[in-house]
Symmetry: C2
Subunit: 339 residues, 2 copies
């Protein structure tokens, strides 16, 4: 709509040079109070707003960071994003959120914005693309992994120890006397799915339990997949006595599947989730799960990214935050705490 006033217009009206106008705005260099007054009035009168694009071009900074999530509808990630947004705001950045659907091309399209200088940094919440590509990218651009840790990689990251957390919650189920514990894992091409699967297997092994291939099935973190995979597990001849889902969302899908199958949780089958999303304590039965400090993961990852962008030393590049097991109703007897 109507063409905007530029710094030149302001300068002309205030009878000064554009440099002076710029100085009034930045407040960096000294400027005569009277002149300053005149400039401010001119700005007011023309309803002047500086053009951000021009500033960006001049400074070669955009103050935009990109946060890529596999699925924005997934409540776990939206809480992480919230942490990212708040951390970004504090540091003076805006967040461009991209939902990748596990589609590499979509992810790469967002990452291209960095190459084009249209964003300054990247936070990746799940690394689904080829590791080589990521390593290469991280070497050239400021980037942080949130939620996920890539073994043997130097890329800065903030996450919990998914393996030990999964081991912990599986042990909880074992301690309750369960002998056939099924696992609904996340997408197998995602690092953290593997980590959680490993933790699960380690716990079984430590307890001398045999591994049953039938009891491990792959989902995609969606509620629909949790439902579908649980249905599948319920059709096994020797039913599992407990199901450990790699995410609360899938666990909620499983709850429904068990309910529809005419069985009760936790009496007939115990269920445990992962993430401790907001809703976990509201569904019935309330979910036993692993609490991830998701907000903090988001915040911390931005803080690291900011340091990276400023080329500051970031001390520890791999940050592992604490998780907490939260025991609620869905795992049955031996409750120690009510969410």
């Amino acid at each position: 709509m109507i063409t905007m006033a530029t710094i030149h217009d302001v300068a002309r009206l205030a009878k000064v040079s554009i440099a002076t106008v710029s100085r009034v705005m930045s407040g960096a260099d000294p400027v005569n109070p009277k002149t300053q007054q005149r400039v401010m009035e001119a700005m007011e009168q023309l309803n002047y707003t500086p053009n951000g694009l021009a500033r960006n071009l001049r400074s070669l900074k955009t103050n935009v960071i990109i946060a890529l999530v596999p699925d924005i509808k997934n409540p776990f990630f939206s809480e992480v994003i919230r942490g990212i947004e708040d951390g970004a705001r504090e540091a003076g950045f805006h967040v461009l959120v991209g939902s990748t659907d596990g589609d590499r091309e979509k992810a790469k399209a967002y990452m291209a914005l960095l190459e084009e200088s249209r964003a300054d940094g990247l936070i990746l919440t799940t690394a689904q693309m080829d590791q080589a590509f990521i390593e290469d990218f991280a070497a050239r651009r400021p980037m942080v992994l949130a939620c996920e840790y890539i073994a043997g990689s130097e890329i800065p990251c903030v996450s919990i120890d998914n393996e030990s957390a999964a081991r912990k919650i599986t042990k909880h189920l074992l301690a309750l006397g369960h002998t056939r514990i099924a696992h609904i894992m996340g997408p197998s091409n995602v690092v953290l799915s593997q980590a959680r699967l490993n933790g699960y297997k380690q716990a079984l092994r430590e307890h001398g339990m045999p591994e049953d291939e039938l009891l491990v099935q792959e989902g995609d973190f969606s509620i629909e997949s949790g439902y579908a995979v649980a249905k599948k597990l319920l059709s096994i001849e020797r039913l599992p006595t407990a199901i450990f889902a790699a995410s609360d969302v899938m666990a909620i899908g499983a709850l429904r599947a068990i309910h529809d199958h005419g069985l009760r949780v936790p009496d007939d089958i115990a269920v445990a989730g992962f993430d401790d999303i907001n809703m976990a304590s509201y569904v019935s039965p309330a979910l036993t799960t692993i609490h991830q400090p998701r907000y903090e993961i988001g915040q911390r990852s931005v803080q690291m990214l900011v340091k990276l962008m400023k080329a500051e030393e970031l001390g520890q590049a791999q940050v592992v935050l604490e998780d907490t097991m939260i025991i609620r109703e869905s795992s049955g007897k031996g409750h120690e705490e009510k969410g």
Copy 2:
């Protein structure tokens, strides 16, 4: 990291002018195949990526649109965002998502990006700020309201008819014989909360039911508020026989409150929600609710915004999409459909 190659570097290496390099990229003007070849090789060799900021400044377009939601953690909005993102991608735009927390200042900070030419358009999913401010903004910048319709305003919008939908679902409860129907409304400063409240009241009036002030309580669309407000309703001496919550998320909070209170849904108290979020059919009992075509709302609103940005005629400026009542378990008897 290492300074980037510019179009000048490419031109120098290929022994042509920068104009020719630009032409090779755009493909608009004819250029000699041999020269083209040389330029491409130079680009390749220097690993050249054009600077998006410079392009943006030159064209005065950013291809970025801003989508403002009250709370990114709210699953209803994240599904709308998904529609917005997909619509935007199709039209060649990127989406900057902002969570406002009902904080006007945060919202205004995002809107300022438009004034600074750092974004081309705006989609507002809830209008919490003063109407005058919004009207003024909409007059100067391309903007569309999604989910919400402001009575008497000319601002383009895409939504359902919240009033009639609320009336419809309240009537459903009345038809089931409920006499004391409570309403957990959304924040009273949000237009659609008022619309839903009106629909609720109209239905009661049509059935000759008295209005009971005690039965209408305000929440903020969060699960916690649904829980808290339901608790409050359960402490009324003459208990409500049904609760209509203005969002599924609050309804889920209410389900838990009723459960914790030792009552059963729908036998003791019926519950109805609004939105039909993904999880609505998975919780137990599954929620009776109003299905909003949220993905389509997102998509359509981007389409309108794009027209607005191109200054094309957009025919109908106020679009009302169809909603559907979905009857599930939480409202009890008379089920016509299973989610």
